[in-house]
Each structure stands twice: as C-alpha cells, then as structure tokens.
Amino acid sequence: MLVIGAGLAGQRAALAAAEEGVSVGIVSKVHPVRSHSNAAQGGINAALNPDDSWESHAFDTVKGSDYLGDQDAIEIMTREAPQEILHLEHLGVPFHRNEEGKLGTRAFGGASAARTYYVADITGQAIMHVLYEQLMKHSAAVSRYEEWFCTALALDDDGECCGVVTRNVSDGSMELFRAKAVILATGGNGQVWQPTTNALICTGDGIAMAYRAGAKLMDMEMIQYHPTTLAKKGFLITEGARGEGAHLLNAQGERFMERYAPNKMELASRDVVSRAEQTEINEGRGFPDGTVALDITVVPKKRVHEALREIVLVGRDFAGVDITSEPIHIKPGNHYTMGGVKTDVEGRTTIPGLYAAGEVACVSVHGGNRLGANSLLDTLIFGRRSGEDAAARAKRMELGRASQAVLDDEEAKIAAILSREKGSGRRVSEVKRELGETMDRYVAVFRDEEGIRTALETVRRLQEEAENVYVDDHGSVFNQDVLGAIELGYMVDNAEATCVAALERKESRGAQYRTDFPERNDDEWLKHIDLSRNGGGPEVSYSEVTMTQWEPQERTY
C-alpha cells in the first residue's frame, strides 16, 4: 500500500501498516522531516490525568467545533488519545515532565482542563522527528520515496483507487506506482490564502487530487484563522503563549477579551478570539498596521525561555521584537483547513481503496473550528486507524489493474506546460498572488454573499489562467517551476470548493461568520456541506452531523 505525504499522519499511517505486516511505500514531495507538521508548536491534547476524562475532552471538542463535528469520531479520537501519547512517549518523544518525572501539561484554548502534552514549543517537530527515527528503523518494511511529487490518482475499471502517478523531483522521471490501498496524508491548503502561517508546500494537493478523482469533499468553507500571527508574513505565535498567561491588548492597552469571552478570556476558541481581534481592528482600536498586541512580558522570563523559546526566536528574527521585554503585534491569519476529503472513522473516503488522514481529511472531528492541540492528535489517531484499515484491505485484495493511460495523460500534461512559450500566459507567481490576496480579502474572518461571489468569480478566472501559465524551467532535474504550475492548479480547485461551500452555508458557525447571516441556525444548517465534482464544477449535497450525547447549546466562553 501507498501513503502520500510524510508528515505526522502519513508517517503514523505507514508505521501502523508496517506493524500489520504489509509492504508500504511512503511518497513525499519533500523530505519527510520538512513536512508542515513541524509547525505545530504548542502540544497535543489527551485526557490522561486521572482527574480528567475523555468525555470532558470530547465535549470541549464538540463545543469548539460549534456542534458541526461528528461526535462518534470525536469520541474515538478523545478515547484513544491517552494511549497514543503513551505510545509516542515510549518511542522516545521527550515530553515535558513535572517534578515527579511524570508527563506534565499546559493549558490551551477552549479546554476545560490543562490536558496539553508538549515538548517546549516544538511539539510537532519533536514527534515528527521521532516518527522518522522509527521509519528509519523499519526501513525493511517501509520504502521511502523522498522528493517524489504526485500528480494524479489512478483508478481501476471498477472505480477503486489502485495507485498514483508520481514524478521523481530529482530527475523528472514519471512513474505509475500501483497499490492495493492509497492513503492521502498531504496536509492542508493554507497557501491558497496570503498571508498564511502555512508552509509553501501546503497547496491542497491531496484535496484536489481526490476531488478530481471523484471523491467527496466536506466542510470546505471551514478555514481557521489563527488569532496570533505576525502581520507581514503570517508567522505563527503559538497559542501556548496565551496558555502560559500572555494577554491580548488593543492600542489603548485594554485587555479587550473581557468584552468577548469574560470567562476564558484569551483562551476562548480560536474563531472567537480571531473575531474579537478583527472587530477591535475594524472598529479602530487596533494599531495603525492593522494589528493588536500580544503581551508575553507578563509570563516569567525563565518560563518563556523554557517553554516558548521558539517564539523568542521568531520574535527576534522575524519581527525584531524581544518578546520577553515588549508586546508583539499580531493579527488573525490563515492557519488550518478544517474541511477536506470526506472520510469515515477508519479514514475511508467515498472512493474504495482511497483513504485520507490528517489535515487533508475531514472525518470530521474539528467541525466549524478546531481546538488548539487537537490537530496533532487528529493526525496520529486517524493516521494510525487509516494505516490499519488500509493494511487489512491490502491483505485481502488483489492488486488492481491501473491503466497506463493515466500515466500517459499526466506526462502529456507536463509536456504541455513545458512547451508553452514565455509570455504566452501569466506567471505562476502572479496568479498565485492574486488568488491569495483575493481569498484573504473575501473569504476570511468575516464574510458576506457579495464578497464571496466576487472571490468565486475571480477564482474561476484564475482557474482558466492556471491552465495556461508558462514556466521558465524546461529541464528535468529538480524542476520546481513545473511543479509550481501543477500546485497552482490544485490551489485554484481548493479555492473554488471553499467559495462554493461558503456561499452555500447561510448562517454563522465556527470559522464561517457571515455578516449577512450573523446567527447560528441549527434548524436549517446543522449539517455538513458535501461537494463532488460533477462535470465542470462542484455539486452541493448535504450529510447529517452524527450526534451521540451532546445536544447543541449556545456557545459562550
């Protein structure tokens, strides 16, 4: 079986499948340790303390999701979380310890208990590097294809997924990799927005490939804006900073969260905090650069060096600010794709043989708004479950017959890009910039019909332009230019899906805040918006939100 993408979800899936005794290939367009799971700073949630409970973790997650999360999936994730943390600890993750030498926690947003386990503020990096150690250890069972780029999924005559078309970045050769099961673990689509906290590689590849192959997408309108990002380049300041006690201040020095979330203050859910900040900024109480301030100086200096060192470096290197002695200017910025390829709790998509796990997938455990420190958990729990289920499938299936035609098609597409003359269309970077600015302007913290329609029109024009971009590099070796053109195609398809879903949902829930429909409307909209590609454009359908034990309530923090 194949895993596409080698961040936390992909590596966890590969290891789980290897333990089941199947032969695994893991394919990644960058070296695995370059994957964006690195960026998860703050930690990973689990109700592991005896005085905490999975039910409490589950309820916080359900509430955080604004009741759009599927409660069966949330139950599974929160129940299995403690065992997963212990598993990682046993593999070697150097989690923070309390004075007794046991696992220690920190507080995080939207949570009713301190249940976030962490490694300083490099939790994602630490876990990912430890998983990569395990991949090296299990190299007999897991073949690594590092710097291989995927251009399309291959389906057999029965419509089951049986492989993937790849391009070896180092020499440009194309291959059809065949497999009995394929797991997408390609991450989110943050690069569709500019600025974003996301890495340059987060271009929604898996979402677009699955969508083009006929899989359903779900909740694509739910895009998280993180409350604390640096204004110019969108760099992330971890929620851990607020978890350690940092304050948010407007230009008048007022701790404005008092007015929006009097109980949880800075540690309300991210959608709530981002809206509060954007309101302050829009109503003229922000700084002239369109920001508010995060004051970390209230946290003891020694604690900052111990627990927030990465943020000290980010402040120093990228904003020229010593966060231990002065506040740093921040604003809400694009951060996370709650929606994605629709899956069940075993990671199965609507295409047999195709799985998805992590940010590319929508199980959905995050619904309308993801809680901080639940994303790492999502990648690991559903990465593992996908790996196990895909391994079981691989054991019972014959290898499907993938047609050579799909490889020929993909080779022809790339040849077509390479053959375009300079100046025949637009540059990749120009189209990408227009896309990012459009989405950040119209499909962000506050949205309305007019704005989303404007965005959709622009995106549809850009889809056409993306078909005709030209590249400068006509070579085979490490041709990043041509890959950029393919990624641009993925991004515009992601953008279209988000615009269509955002236009469709005529209410405000989680990250989707419609100024023309400012209330949550459970009677009409307590449901998922599914999208499938029908002919040219996305076709909308709906699916029920799975409820187990938590009825929707008013959501205050």
Binding site: H31, G101, Q134, K233, F235, V314, D473, F478
Partner: protein, 390 residues
C-alpha cells in the same frame, strides 16, 4: 524600498556547463529574509532558479545555504543584515571574489551595485542544481550511522517512563535540530575527512545517549569512540556552533559524548583521543601554552614526564610526527630544536600562568551545562548562569 543585489552561484546540470555566477537585483524591505529575496528573483525573473524551501520560518530546515561564506538558513537571515555583512566582509569598499569560488570570480561591481550578497550552495555536499545539494549521501547516511532510534530495555511500562525532568529538557536541545545541514556544511573536520560522522549525526547520537530511557548508552559511546571518524575526529573549531540556526550547539554535544565516554564509562579509544584530550588539558593548566612534544608523549604514556622511556606507541607516533615537526621548524611555528624535547617548554611569564589557573578554577566551579531551553538564551551567558543557579 531598499534594493539589493544577489550574487548567486548557479549550476544547471543539464546545460553541459560548469557552475557560474548569476546576479539578480531585488527590491524588498530590509527586515525580510534572504530567502524572500531569492524567491522574488525566481518569481519575477527566472523560474529555473532552484532552492529547497518550505516553512519560511526556520523550522523545516530546507533552505540551508552559504550566505557571504557562512552556512545558515536563507529564511532566517534578514536581507538587510546580509547586506551589511557583505559590506563588512569587503571592508566597505572594493569587491572581492567570494570564498569558495574556485572558478571565475563574480562579475565586477559595474551594474551590480556594490557588495552584493553572495549566496552559494552548502559546502561538504555535492550540488544537484543551483542551491540544491545532495544531503542523502553526506547527511542522512551519517544520521543512519548512529542507530538513530531509541533502544529501551525490555517492554515499555504501562504508563510513561518516569525520568528526571531536566533530562528531557536536556535532550530537547538536540530534538530542536531541524536537520538543515548548516553544521555539516561548515564543518572543517569534514572538509579534511569526508568520512567524519559529523556534527549533526553526533548531536543526534547525544539525543539517545542523554536520554535515560535508552538502554544502549555504553554500546553507543563505545562505538562512537572507537570509530576513527567518530567523536575524537572533531577538532573543536566551533564552526558548527556558529552555523547552527537552532542553538543545538553540535560541538557541545560531541564534547558531552566524549565526557560521558571517558568519565562515566572509562572508554579507552583506539584513536587515543581520550588520553590526548586529557594530556592537552593538563599541559595547558601547568604551562599556559602547548608543549607539543610533551603532548605526544603524555597522550601515549601518561604521567611519565621527564623519564625518557616513552611507550612504543609514543615512539612510533613521535617518529611519525617528524615531518610535521620539520614543517613546524621551517615555518617558524616551532622556534627551536630544544622544543623537541618533552618538558623543556616554558611556563607563561609574569604571573600569566596564575590567570590560566584561575580560568580552570572558574570553569570547575561553573560546570553547569548551558542548555538553551532552560538556562537562558544565546549571548546572555551571565544571566543564563545566574538563572541556572537560582
């Protein structure tokens, strides 16, 4: 908006031509990074300019390059600072060929602005294309050499391993390594001995040696001490510490591996590295400068100073070092034949030797290991030590 000139060393493997220098004028805020500059050149002028990059925030480790001759991350280096460094390097005036350019120097300043920021692929690695290097053969192979996974004893406990909290903070310094290769690129030992396991892989090794959950500490140390390309192959030059963008301080980790090997496990390595280091330290403590002849003898036959009966290994080594000694005499480094006799070397005059002793005493009293995660940050050692002792 300020303008900068980037002088980029390029190599297009399919062109049948060797490496060459290419120059790009870019326009961006001085607080943005050199990577932003490279990407602007790529986006606006030449899409074939290749560089690995992803996070833009010094966490993914993709964009290791040399900027003005120093190994670092392009995304972590502010372009304004890089420009200032280029000016300093050229003495604020005339242009000089960048270090490492073994063919044509970059074009003169005409039309390129004075003192361009010089960007090259990392060193000690084959170049694949432009700024993209082959890290597999020079970095990852060595990482795999140190058995880079935890080997605990027996079955895992039901709950977590109970360990000293400080030990986890300790190994977090190495877990902070993003495998960017900047240290490998800067390593002088690796230039001489490409087989050297190297700073990144040895720091990775300490991540397990320092981890109380690992049960193979002694075996790991023995292996790394006995390997002729192992822990005693480091020449203590500090380049990797300067290059590391994450404060991992690989050389410090190598020194800790040596101390653990020697002090905790008494591992005598075939390279004689342990005795050599011990002799070196003792001689400086006694004499202030290095008595090289005594160093040879003490390295092989500790404690027999003054008796002219070195062990056979020392005699062999003494004979082996004759060409080096002759070179030393020729170049004036070794000022007299007398100095060839072990123990004849003079102490530092006028009480200077006492100052050396005081340094030793101070070091012994402040034997706290500086770990950036708990004791403070770079450049703030006084405060760091204070906080550490609180």
């Amino acid at each position: 908006m300020p303008e900068y000139t980037l002088q980029i060393r390029r190599y297009q493997p399919e062109s049948n031509e060797g490496p060459y220098w290419d120059s790009f004028d870019v326009e961006l805020d001085e607080s943005l990074s050199v990577l932003d500059g490279i990407l602007q050149a790529r986006d606006r002028e030449d899409g074939s300019l290749s560089v690995r990059c992803s996070c833009r925030a010094a966490i993914c480790g993709s964009c290791g390059v040399k900027i003005n001759g120093s190994s670092t991350l392009a995304c972590k280096t502010q372009i304004g600072e890089a420009h200032a460094a280029a000016n300093r390097r050229n003495g604020g005036g005339a242009e000089q060929p960048p270090r490492g350019a073994d063919e044509e120097p970059p074009p003169g300043s005409a039309g390129h602005g004075p003192n361009p920021i010089v960007i090259e692929p990392m060193g000690n690695m084959p170049v694949i294309k432009d700024l993209v290097t082959d890290m597999e053969s020079t970095h990852w192979e060595k990482i795999r050499r140190v058995t880079p996974w935890l080997i605990p004893a027996g079955d895992a406990p039901e709950r977590e391993y109970i360990v000293d909290p400080e030990s986890m903070v300790d190994v977090t310094q190495e877990i902070a390594c993003i495998q960017c290769g900047a240290c490998v690129s800067s390593c002088l030992s690796m230039e001489v001995d490409p087989g050297f396991i190297g700073p990144a892989a040895l720091a990775k090794a300490y991540r397990f040696v320092g981890d109380p959950r690992d049960a193979e500490t002694e075996a790991r140390l023995y292996d790394l001490a006995q390997d002729p390309h192992g822990i005693y192959d480091c020449t203590h030059c500090f380049s990797c510490i300067d290059a590391c963008p994450k404060g991992v301080a690989p050389m410090d980790q190598i020194m800790r591996l040596r101390r653990r090997a020697a002090d905790d496990y008494g591992i005598d390595d075939v390279n004689n590295g342990r005795r050599h280091e011990h002799a070196f330290t003792k001689i400086i403590e006694k004499k202030g400068t290095l008595d090289e002849s005594l160093l040879l003898q003490e390295s092989f036959a500790e404690g027999i100073k003054g008796k002219l009966i070195p062990k056979p290994a020392a005699i062999k080594s003494l004979i082996g070092s004759v060409p080096t000694a002759i070179r030393g005499i020729r170049t004036g480094k070794m000022r007299s034949l007398r100095k060839l006799i072990p123990g004849v070397h003079e102490k530092l005059p006028d009480g200077a030797q006492d100052e050396v002793r005081q340094i030793y005493e101070h070091a012994e009293q402040h034997s706290v290991e500086l770990n950036l995660y708990i004791k403070g940050e770079e450049g703030d050692e006084e405060a760091a030590i204070e906080e550490g002792l609180e």
